[in-house]
Amino acid sequence: MSTFDDPFDSDRNLQAGCVCGQHRSAREHEQAASALRCDPVESEEKRYEGVVASAVMRAMFPQDVARRAFLKSVGASTALAALSQFFPLKTATEVFAQAGAPEKKDLKVGFIPITCATPIIMAAPLGFYAKHGLNVEVVKTAGWAVIRDKTINKEYDAAHMLAPMPIAISLGLGANAIPFAVPAIENINGQGITLAMKHKDKRDPKDWKGMKFAIPFDYSMHNYLLRYYLAEHGLDPDIDVQLRSVPPPEMVANLRADNIDGFLAPDNICQRAIYDGVGFMHILSKEIWDGHPCCSFAASREFITTAPNSFAALTRAIVDATAYASKAENRKQIAEAIAPANYINAPVTVLEQVLTGTYADGLGGVKTDAKRVDFDPFPWQSFAVWMLTQMKRWGQIKGDVDYKAVAEQVYLATDTKKLMTEMGLSPPASAYKSFAVMGKNFDPAKPEDYVASFKIRKSS
């Protein structure tokens, strides 16, 4: 659903009321339409053209009645032609797409080679950065701690981070407290619990007592989701099982060596274990929480204030790439674009299975789930609140937490909303939404109650 009304449609109202007539205002209509997701529009050029044309039409006909009358009398195509004569729409569209000139054009963006980084990576080979006037070098990085240090060191202007990492860095957990911000979520879903082949009959987590699991990083959705999943099945993740921080490629090797029993890892690693015949997919993380955030696109506050236009252009490129990646028909092309050694460096078959969602489950079956990994950039502040509740629940933060303040400081929903609207996308009206994790409802307005409602948690 586009926020953009075709300004040359005489039945459209540019000012007030809504298109479908069922809502009192366009705002309300938008809200209903984009209730949970912000869907991208067909083509970016069309979108920008729409934005510019809307603005011009609005400027020429401040009175909506006059515009309607004009359109009715001459017809939309004539109007467009007439307008183009006086106003170079094409040029204006190009200028608009570039927005303010970036202060710094040559940027470095760090990434970890997993499919979560898809929009960041593919924006380079598919030209999304270039389109927004940037010359971005995407640099592969050896691990989460290194990506954190290099971004803090300003070797990278922005980076691919796990969704909770910018919160942790801003709070000074496991690092110096440095204000970081998230203008866009990299991907939603896109992880899974993979178990060693020998456990193929142990599908009930209640039988997992004493097992060893690997996660990639402490401040990660992987950690929180695995703990959540285990705890919902009555296992205390700090007592009944062993959780180890292990770099993803070593997870596959350790699984093969029978050193761990399973892992909750980002994708292409889960699929890689299956591809190599050492594990099977127990569940997708999507089955724990459908639509959960996984990785984020993050930059320091300092970069945002010193180079606001560069930052805006970067965010635009990422949002654009995310919109492109969210479409199923582009996924095969993306898999091919990001598979080479310069980017993820993985077999195309593996990436294709992850991105298209038609995959071998490791037990001899072929499963299909088009939303196995999905892309939706909007940085819901309620996501941040949820992560904070889990940090509190597992003792990573202690004492009183101002959930809302932290969420709003780190997850830049307002700025992103403005940017997305300018781009002709329809972001949701509010930055908070409630959602359910394993059937349990989460109300972002009552985080303390939520933390208190869990039976299994670290006593603080």
């Binding site: 592969k140 050896a142 290099k150 060191n153 490629p249 591809y275 190599d276 460096n345 077999p347 072929v366």
Partner: protein, 279 residues
């Protein structure tokens, strides 16, 4: 007699290599179809799962891949994918820089300490504590304070190659024969001239031995440091291929690291021979 010994040794080497490659080849043969699976499913799976191919590559796989790399060692596909020649170049440049800096610091300092019993005693505890620290333990600290990963890598090389050089220089300088120094003294040779004309030639073999140990350590460390920081270099290449679980490429990298390490050692060994004199 010596030539026949050489010949025989060479023959034994070749036989050992052939036996090693043969056993390796046999041990990593594929075992045929691993399990029956539908063709649709098999298409989504890798060779280890479908054909029971060993997870370890055989010598033939490694050979073919090595040939591919050697055919185009200097390709450049963007910041994260460069030819093996370029990667080795980066590593050697880092080792060279860090090592040269260490030479510039260690040898004059070693001279100073070696010639002054007071300094030698005073600095000894510090050196003893700093020497056994694993170079990689410095890495997080370096990254944190220097705030630049390639400079940090060079710093790590510097800090790891300085100690053997320093200690050997101190030892070499301190154990120059007393008679020679006394002769120089009676001839009223100045301190600076004494250092260059008497002590330096006498201590040179020991100093160079220290330098040879250092270059070995530096080459050991650079690979690990680059694996940790990423970016460029042969260590990064190993990490990148490990990330792809491509054991073939990891083996190739190991082989090349070995060859370059040997060459570096040989160069220093030649220098050592040049300055050694029969007494």
């Amino acid at each position: 007699m010596t030539s026949s010994l050489r010949l025989r040794a060479g023959l034994v080497s070749i036989v050992l290599l052939a036996a090693f490659l043969g056993i390796w080849h046999l041990a990593t043969r594929s075992t045929g179809t691993a399990a029956t699976m539908s063709p649709e499913y098999a298409k989504l799976m890798g060779l280890t799962a479908t054909q029971g191919k060993s997870a370890m590559p055989g010598p033939l796989d490694v050979g073919t891949k090595l040939w591919e790399h050697l055919k185009r060692p200097f390709y450049d596909n963007g910041p994260n994918d460069k030819g093996l020649g370029i990667q080795l170049g980066y590593s050697i440049a880092r080792v060279g820089t860090g090592y040269l800096l260490a030479v510039l610091v260690a040898i004059p300092l070693g001279f100073l300490i070696g010639m002054s019993p007071l300094l030698s005693k005073a600095l000894d505890p510090f050196i003893q504590v700093l020497k056994p620290i694993s170079p990689l333990a410095w890495m997080p600290l370096a990254l944190y304070t220097i705030k630049d990963s390639s400079v940090s890598a060079i710093f790590v090389i510097f800090i790891c190659s300085i100690w053997p050089m320093l200690l050997n220089t101190v030892f070499g300088v301190a154990s120059v024969r007393k008679e020679w120094i006394n002769v120089a003294r009676t001839l009223e040779v100045g301190t600076v001239r004494r250092a260059f004309t008497v002590i330096l030639p006498a201590a040179a073999p020991t100093i160079l031995t220290g330098m040879r140990i250092s270059i070995g350590i530096a080459w050991l460390v650079i690979v690990a440091a680059e694996m940790l920081v990423g970016g460029t270099g042969i260590g990064y290449f190993v990490w990148n291929e490990w990330n792809n679980l491509s054991i073939t490429n990891v083996i190739i990298a190991i082989l090349l690291i070995g060859v370059v390490g040997m060459l570096l050692d040989q160069i220093l060994a030649r220098f050592t021979r040049m300055v050694t004199f029969p007494e």
